[in-house]
């Protein structure tokens, strides 16, 4: 690691010749990742599916403007339709003590989590919305996954 001497005191250096190689490597890696993702993640943006602990509890198709709730006592789903927007509350347990609020817009073909009581940071609520068939919203504490349909990778298990 590069150090410099200033006023008789040895301190760390903010820049060195070798940094150029590191920055080029990082830029190449990031560019490769963009190309990889653009190539692999193609989707027809058909709709979204919601899984709770690996079980499918909800699915919808944007073009049909319709949705299906898979009856499940362990993971109840409550819906409310407001025009083009469908509001769902997905419960992570049968006693309805843990939930995630999901908003699906059939006109804009997007899905996002608006609120949850999973953790103080609420990572799932801050995840970018699923749009153009790309993205995924996962609530780890509640084991709830919201995934786009149409264009699923063969490696996806649930």
């Amino acid at each position: 690691m590069k150090t410099t001497v200033e006023n008789g005191k040895e301190t760390l250096s903010p820049f060195a010749v070798g940094d150029v190689i590191v920055y080029i490597l990082i830029a190449t890696l990031i560019a490769s990742l963009f190309v990889f993702c653009a190539t692999i993640f193609k989707s027809e943006n058909e709709g979204v599916e919601i899984f709770a602990s690996g079980e499918k509890v909800f699915s919808c198709r944007f073009d049909d403007d319709d949705f299906t709730i898979y009856e499940n006592e362990r993971f109840p789903v409550v819906t409310e339709r407001r025009g083009d927007v469908l509001l769902l509350t997905v419960y992570a347990d049968s006693s309805k003590t843990s939930h995630n609020d999901v908003e699906i817009n059939f006109k804009e073909k997007t899905a996002r989590v608006t609120d949850a009581d999973c953790s103080p940071s609420k990572d799932c609520a801050h995840t970018p919305e699923i749009r153009n068939g790309k993205g995924a919203i996962i609530c780890v504490p509640h084991k709830i996954k919201i995934l786009p349909t149409g264009g699923k990778l063969p490696l996806t298990t649930g």
Binding site: E10, L33, L155
Partner: protein, 178 residues
């Protein structure tokens, strides 16, 4: 004074840096992530990096493990340990190796590389454990955020090395450059 590997001064500074890393990690976990899940500036990594630079890799490892293990418990998000531990250990290994062996690379670049590696590995572990490869779509953005966060951390470490006396960090010798 004998330069023992774990001198009293080094043990004390390791403890102080571990406590600082733990506190900053716990506070940082209370805030929402930066733009995408898992993305944080990682202010706690400042203290891990300082520990490695001035007190050596073993002390840096102690600081890192204290931050991740106790920080996950204190912040009430124990499941996060599954993702933080492998990514933290791997990026720490890369940083410690570069600090010891790369003579012409600055701490800012090392930290930037560590930030990229940390978030990318975290993303991969996330996908493996949850079986949802769709999450890989965030990999390029996480890499950018990790790089910028790593640069910030490295620059903070550089500023601290200029302003804070090195004896505070338990340095028996000058910052390691062998």
């Amino acid at each position: 004074m004998n330069d023992h590997f774990f001198s009293t001064k080094k043990i004390v500074s390791c403890a102080v840096l571990s406590a600082l890393a733990l506190v900053s990690f716990t506070i940082e976990n209370l805030f929402p992530p930066l733009f995408i899940p898992g993305a944080r500036i990682g202010v706690s990594n400042v203290f891990v990096l300082l520990s490695v630079v001035y007190a050596g890799a073993p002390c840096g490892l102690i600081t890192l493990l204290t931050k991740i293990l106790l920080g996950s418990v204190f912040s009430g998000n124990v499941s996060a340990m599954l993702y933080s531990l492998p990514s933290g250990l791997l990026s720490f290994s890369i940083e410690a190796l570069l600090i010891k062996r790369a003579k012409n690379v600055s701490v800012v670049a090392i930290s930037g590389l560590g930030g990229v590696c940390s978030l990318l590995i975290q993303n991969c572990v996330y996908c493996l454990i949850l079986g949802a490869t769709e999450y890989l779509v965030y990999a390029p953005y996480l890499a950018i955020v990790g790089f910028l966060a790593g640069l910030t951390v490295g620059f903070i470490v550089f500023l601290l090395s200029k302003t804070v006396p090195e004896k505070f960090f338990g340095a028996e010798k000058r910052p390691r450059d062998e």
